[in-house]
Amino acid sequence: MSVQTWTWILVGITFALYFGIAIWARAGSTKEFYVAGGDVSPLANGMATAADWMSAASFISMAGLISFMGYDGSVFLMGWTGGYVLLALLLAPYLRKFGKFTVPDFIGDRYYSNTARTVAVICALIVSFTYVAGQMRGVGIVFSQFLQVDINIGVIIGMTVVLIFAFLGGMKGITYTQVAQYCVLIFAFMVPAFFISMQMTGNIIPQIGMGGKVEGGAFLLDKLDTLHTQLGFNEYTSGTKSTWDVFAITLALMVGTAGLPHVIVRFFTVPKVKDARKSAGLALLFIAILYTTAPAIAVFSRTNLIETVSEQEYKEIPAWFKNWENTGLIAWSDKNGDGKIQYVAGNALSGKKPEYTEARGTNGERLISNASTAENELYVDRDIMVLANPEIANLPNWVIALVAAGGLAAALSTAAGLLLVISTSISHDLIKKQLKPNISEKGELLAARIAILVAIIIAGLFGIYPPGFVAAVVALAFGLAAASFFPAIILGIFDKRMNKEGAIAGMVVGISLMLFYMIRYKTGLWMTFDPRPASEWWFGTSPEGFGTIAMIVNVVISVVVSRLTPAPPKDVQELVENIRIPSGAGEASSH
């Protein structure tokens, strides 16, 4: 059977499964809608958290990014896993004990202020929307690559699917769908990895194969280092970023992970404090399976890519190369006219993306109008590594199709989790808690459903008309979370003296500083000015790593301001003492 038939079959089966679960797990109350009734088992919550967390970016892009970044890619590996240690030790148990529905709930009650609550809602919306836009685009890309439908139709199909299970089931539907999605995505990620590891190193476990030997007896990593050096790249295991920047980015990603509202809210769904701790551990275990495999895939695919294309005749090149060239993710221009592909260090293009002319060259390649003068002739988009990997390694068609189903599972599960946070922020934190406190249970549920509908439409529009800055901003969502929520929550638990003045000042200054740095050095401000160059970065900190500095500023300001203003009222101090003790958590409640 062809790849496409296989893909339709596998995507069809998995989607039918998600629908089935959505109908089974309909939500009848706001509690079921917001926190799945608060009785999810730690194991199910661990899987759901893992699926929620591992987005299209983790599944599709991360291994590819690492394979081009080498050692520098470690920032994602450590950054996106280490945050769970912070989450498990510093946040999850206490927030579970606190026992409400949302992060702004905690901020609003702990800092006895609706202003603090509103600031938290705004931060949650900024973080979640920047994040969800990328997911919808991911859904569109998978559909267009594997099922040959238009990218926009892919986005619309994805929106419809998320809508059905999120609209009907709220958190309950999402949680149990995510459990299924975790199983699909991890299976889809591991199967090709086992195949390729076996092929290249003779060891089926990729984590071991990565450190194993290839044919000829050399270690795989040594061989890759040698290949890199020969072609003029940096050694794969060394990287190019400064030590400080690696440090700052890793910390910003870790702290940001622990501050992301759609991750935190998952720990409100388990019955007890004990379960919150345990499910954080299980979540990280489930995540670690993918995160320790990804660097292995990166090494395998990097080696495979170099060996397959370097100094090869274009006419002899395998079909996958030409397929991806046709979709615009690979470009080759025969600069020295020898008909062979020279893949060496340096940017093959002037500019970031290839600009194809309509014509074909003498070898049959798509001609581009923006080839650079550098010796390198090959442009490869980083996103294709995971998607193309099974093809590059000549794996069976059903494995290639499986990857498509896995990519969709990853993108849909994360999008659903984020959309729920957005709708909860509006129906619960804004409408119920501020605008219309006497709204009925039924009315709030209806508001939540309408909010999720609107959020999906907006997210879909972001996917169909992606503003240029979205891709750049997704990575920065972590910096925003690190600069705003993390300090406010941690200080709220561990510093009894922290008051509303301190927390609000810290959050406002932290997120503003991060937004300022982002716009100045990364995104620019639409038409008005271009981002400033890297040479002007503060202390050599990249915008991705700046969340670390913004977080420190937040903490310092919070502490100083809080000590200059009155202590929090007695009942709030008692609340803090109460959340430090695990017993008597009860159920998550709205009052």
Binding site: Y71, V85, T243, R277, P295, I581, P582, S583
Partner: protein, 86 residues
């Protein structure tokens, strides 16, 4: 101070102690072994891996998982000791 409050503050102190120890390990494996001292560690090898590189892309993640489960165990015991388990 009532018994319950005494219990609560002793419990909290012990909890902070655990956190300090576990987070030190968290910091050392990732930021220490994986980033700050990776050049030094890269002189040693673990099979086909340079050691610093292994910590950055594999080892630190394994340690993170272990740390959380150790924490879960320690806290479950502590909850029992002070009667806060349920």
């Amino acid at each position: 101070m009532s018994d319950k409050q005494k219990h609560a503050s002793a419990y909290w102190k012990q909890n902070i102690k655990y956190l300090a120890i576990l987070l030190s390990i968290w910091f050392v494996v990732s930021y220490g072994c994986g980033i700050l001292f990776r050049e030094e560690l890269n002189q040693f090898r673990l099979g086909g891996f340079k050691l610093g590189f292994w910590f950055a892309q594999q080892g630190s993640i394994y340690v993170f998982v272990i740390l959380i489960f150790v924490y879960v165990r320690l806290m479950n015991k502590l909850d029992k000791k002070y009667g806060f388990d349920e």
